[in-house]
Subunit: 256 residues, 2 copies
């Protein structure tokens, strides 16, 4: 008799941006393996569960991943409801495919519960639709990050071809992103927005042009950030007092 592993997206940060389905599974969970960034209020929904933090440190990623895969399979052989809880949506930059393949290979039943991705939360927070009639019919989600052993990742081509782009895990590479895109023909005055800790009360939003991306990113703290590029931002950036508007729209909810 084997339990089920639920690969669950915890959403972008705010605990009430979890789905109802995820909340119900957490309430029934026997054990939860979670990323470091999952909100404490989200974890607290798993009233019965043992909680195990599975932070992966860079440099040891593949070893750590194999260990997590094994722990998930072992847990499913002992428990009915095993949860793997990841920030955002598991299918977008969630590095979940290795876990899926391991569960399939181990004949462990699993379900994936999608979540709200950071791009959606950031766009909602600043009030700028990523697609827009007449202006943006496509949006690309990219990351410039790649492990050394990976094949070439032409993230820049995807940004250049898209009306709107959202760059995940890019704040630490801001100078290289701006240099690469401008060298390949993206106008240096392309509007950019940088949203740190989207959906959380401490969130910070900064606007500028592509050539300003590095100084904007230098102001970021340790929280996850997404970079939005494109003309969809232009009107919002030009409004007066845009930051105060943005912060007024954040839910008034203390972070635990």
């Amino acid at each position: 008799m084997t339990g089920t592993v639920y690969l669950i997206g915890a959403g972008p940060g705010a605990p009430d941006l979890l789905t109802l389905r995820a909340a119900r599974v957490l309430e029934r969970a026997d054990i939860v393996f979670h990323d470091a960034l999952v909100h404490p209020e989200t974890l607290a929904l798993a009233v019965r569960a043992e909680k195990v933090e599975t932070g992966k440190r860079s440099g040891r990623r593949s070893t750590a991943q194999k260990f997590i895969n094994k722990r998930l399979i072992d847990a499913a052989r002992k428990h009915d409801v095993v949860v793997r809880l990841k920030g955002g949506d598991p299918m977008l930059f969630g590095r979940v495919q290795e876990e899926i393949e391991a569960l399939r290979a181990g004949h462990i039943p699993f379900q994936i519960v999608p979540g709200v991705t950071a791009a959606s939360a950031a766009a909602a927070q600043i009030g700028v639709s990523l697609t827009r009639r007449g202006l943006s019919r496509h949006v690309t989600f990219v990351t410039p990050r790649a492990a050394p052993e990976e094949p070439a990742n032409d993230w820049a081509a995807s940004v250049l071809a898209a009306d709107t782009a959202v760059i995940y895990m890019g704040a630490g590479l801001a100078q290289s992103i701006a240099d690469t895109l401008i060298a390949r023909g993206k106008p240096a005055d392309t509007p950019v927005g940088l949203v740190e800790d989207a959906s959380l009360p401490g969130s910070r939003v900064r606007y500028g042009m592509l050539r300003d991306l590095a100084p904007m990113a230098a102001l970021c703290g340790a929280g996850p950030a997404v970079i939005i590029l494109g003309d969809v931002l232009r009107e919002t950036m030009q409004q007066d007092a845009v930051e105060s508007l943005v912060f007024a729209r954040l839910p008034h909810r203390a972070r635990a």
Copy 2:
């Protein structure tokens, strides 16, 4: 004294893929303006609210949009909690920017509640991450649909530049999509998956190659469908009995 308008993403279809925040706002809502495709169980959460369906018919879209904008503003002058409920995530193909601009112009307070987009739900359902280490570092979300008055929409360039592509509102244009992409150099044997009514019990999943897209789409019913293109699908497609696996992972929940 003016109420607040909440622009809420209802998620991809299944009522339990709504966020906790959306559910709590619906419970307090005085009036809900909703798209035709929102699930009856989701609407039922708005126990106190008057419900108004705001279906837009093609050809009369701009007139209808102005009428909806006006109704939202009028409602906010009468009620505390006004909800505009849209399928999926409002910031991705939700055509929500005109409503946002109208609310800003009318000085109506508003909040946007992000939702799970159809691409995330479809990927979760078939167990295929849209990004994948070493294989897909970017994913584009596009629609080939455009109103006649819109500027040229080079959706195909975005698909060609991306490792993975998700095409929204494309099933009715499948032949033209396949012809365009193949003519511009996308291999005719690129794996494609077509997911209709993602996350709902009646969902159908079909796999094939890009050259088969039109006959695959011809089997679709009236439900919303997303088309996923890319090598991330290859292994899943090659597994035996993939459809039965997919359906086994759907939540067992009757559609009201």
